[in-house]
Amino acid sequence: MILPELVVLGVAYGLLFGVLALGLTLVWGVMKVVNIAHGDFVTVGAYSSYWLFTLAGVHPILSLLFTIPFGFGLGLLVYLGLVRRVANAPELMSLFLTFGLSTLISSLLLNLYSPNQRGVPISFPSINGLGVVLPGSVAIAAAYSVVVAVLLRLFLRRTFWGKAIRAVTEDREAALLMGINPEAVSLLSFGIGVAIATSVGSIVILLQAVTPTVGGDFTLLSFVIVVLGGLGSPLGALIGGVVIGVVNNVASLYLNAAVTPAIGFIVLVVVLIVRPSGIAGLKPD
């Protein structure tokens, strides 16, 4: 039974990249910053977990306890030092800045850690059920994604700052009138965005090896997912991730594996033509 297996795999991978895209869409929604360096923060997280494992024997899942606060702190610093200057500036400006940041991060990693690929020799038993085999590491990735998504939803719905983030996403000026400090909201959401990226890095190192330049692929993937789901919509990002994951996996049944990556992009272009604001764009979550 290949088809159900591919669908399950697609959903699992899609959830992880959906969560990654969640971090991007949060930043995008709040401050309209197009963060090209988003994927490079994944690389930073993956390298952190790699070194924690190699030098101190810390299991990558345990290293989440480090990469999450580390990413959050890094995000705050990057926001205060750099991104603050381009928040709400024209898109090209933030694009330019974060491209510079991306170049800086990947070339720093390259010079610090050499261009060699890094991976951790950890494996998990796979899960069998209903005739479907799900690799253990992929199951962990999916479980982690669900936890993050649920926590984030609770945060956005239940807490003051979460509500503030939603308010700023929907209408910055109205939020200002309501006494919300958009600057603080931007700071917070950038911190969360980067923390999500670095923590996804800790999971990614379980699935594959990384190199200093692998971040670009993650950025591209998150972009597509975010737009597919609709800008600034967390639920849309998850849906978009799952759609891309399933489409890519199922398409590989019928098409040459080298062609399948294009399917996601073609789906996106078609969706945009039919519905210019994405799948979930019309009902901001």
Binding site: S114, P135, T213
Partner: protein, 442 residues
């Protein structure tokens, strides 16, 4: 609402007004553009002047160094390979210069080697620009960048300027089908990579035909490897190709395709492309709980990191290899170079704090080939050295060197290695094997 005539006149008047507006704007803007133009010209002159002084002849009598020019992908998608190759060449230059340089008989003295290298960022447009500049800087010889695509971008410049271009990391056979005379291959071409693996399988003498699945990267190198291999498989009996597809190397997982392949129940999985994809394939195979009697991948298993990244997952994976540190050719006649495989391994490891892979050995060997050509021809002229190389036939620590008519490497042969209990073992061909093949893998 206005007649046609009126509106026409109005349009005319408006157009005149626009024209006047445009002209007045243009005059002012021209002034501004001129000021900016002058700034640009100053920059251009400064850049021009800089290069003019760079290209001024430095010494009037004979070259003080042998200039070997190259670019390497030190950033971008091929950076890992580029750095490895550059390190190999740097080690060669270091060793040559430690002994005073290369003896050039036409000059009657030893001349030290100077490597001139730039980062081509894995982009052909930069390769093209940089090689032209290397030519303008008066290099004596050129070394190609890593990878077939980048080598193909450097080739026309070498050809047009009659400079020797030594290819150490461009394996695609297509490099030697274009009629370039100055492009010389040091490594075995792609079409020959998998042939010893297939010979080895044939030697197993299995009763039923072996079912083979090809799953490989969609790039010039991997395609030429698999095309060469599948043609060879088709020309011999005892094999049955059940699957043949290429994949996108930037994919984050191959679980979908691997599940499909496993459903076809092949004995042997052949393919791969580079580092990260090769490791991902192994991780996916393990996590899906799949088992093949043999997995043979390109490039990735040969890298020492393969073991540290994958641990026990690396077990019994097979790879074709250009070179292994256990190979010893020092007893072969016409052996060249003051270094053996194990010496190279030790020296590289202590210099760069990491073990060399075959890319580093290829690059070091490229230096040796150039050295041999210069010594035997006694000249620093690229054309003379190129002609000399066509008649050479010798061994180095890397293996045999002998050129085919187009400049393709015909003497060197691949070996097959297998990870056994955390160590790389050469398992084929039998005369150089350090261990027997474990098949089927447990």
């Amino acid at each position: 609402m206005g007649t046609e005539g009126e509106s026409y006149k109005r349009t005319r008047r408006l157009d005149a007004a626009i024209l006047a507006f445009v002209v007045s704007k243009a005059r002012r803007a021209l002034g501004r553009a001129a000021a900016a133009g002058i700034v640009i010209i100053l920059i251009a002159v400064a850049v021009g002047g800089y290069y003019y002084y760079q290209t001024l002849p430095t010494a009037p009598t004979g070259p003080s160094t042998i200039k070997v020019g190259m670019t390497m992908p030190l950033s971008g998608s091929l950076e890992a390979d580029g750095v490895m190759s550059l390190d190999g060449l740097k080690l060669w230059a270091h060793n040559v210069n430690a002994s005073g340089g290369i003896y050039v008989s036409s000059l009657g003295r030893k001349v030290p080697v100077q490597l001139i290298y730039y980062d081509d960022t894995s982009a052909t447009s930069v390769v093209s620009t940089d090689y032209q500049q290397l030519v303008a800087q008066g290099v004596n010889f050129l070394v190609a960048p890593y990878s077939s695509g980048l080598t193909l971008a450097a080739a026309p410049i070498a050809e047009a300027n009659h400079l020797l271009l030594l290819s150490h990391g461009g394996a695609s056979d297509s490099i030697w089908t274009k009629g370039y005379k100055y492009v010389v291959g040091v490594l075995s071409p792609g079409s020959k990579y998998m042939l010893p693996v297939i010979d080895m399988l044939k030697n197993l003498n299995s009763s039923a035909p072996l079912k083979v699945a090809f799953f490989y990267g969609n790039d010039a190198f991997s395609i030429s490897v698999v095309n060469g291999a599948s043609a060879y498989v088709n020309s011999t009996s005892g094999f049955n190709i059940v699957y043949k597809q290429s994949y996108d190397e930037s994919a984050t997982s191959y679980t979908a395709q691997l599940s499909q392949i496993a459903a076809l129940n092949p004995d042997v999985l052949l393919g791969g492309a580079h580092f990260v994809d090769g490791e991902t394939i192994m991780k996916n195979i393990q996590s899906l709980g799949l088992h093949f009697k043999m997995v043979a991948l390109l490039v990735a298993p040969d890298d020492p990191h393969f073991l540290s990244d994958l641990g026990s997952l690396a077990g019994y994976v097979v790879a074709p290899s250009q070179w292994e540190s256990s190979l010893d050719f020092s007893s072969f006649t016409s052996y060249f170079g003051n270094i053996t495989s194990s010496q190279f391994f030790t020296q590289f490891n202590s210099t760069y704090k990491m073990p060399p892979n075959y890319e580093a050995a290829e690059a070091y060997n490229t230096g040796l080939v150039l050295q041999r050509g210069i010594i035997d021809s006694g000249s620093l002229n690229s054309t003379v050295v190129r002609n000399q190389l066509s008649s050479e036939n010798f061994y180095t620590f890397y293996g045999k060197f002998q050129l085919g008519p187009t400049g393709i490497q015909a003497g060197h042969t691949m070996v097959v290695m297998q990870w056994q209990s955390g160590a790389k073992k050469v398992v084929w061909p039998k005369p150089v094997a350090t261990s027997a093949l474990v098949y089927p893998s447990p």
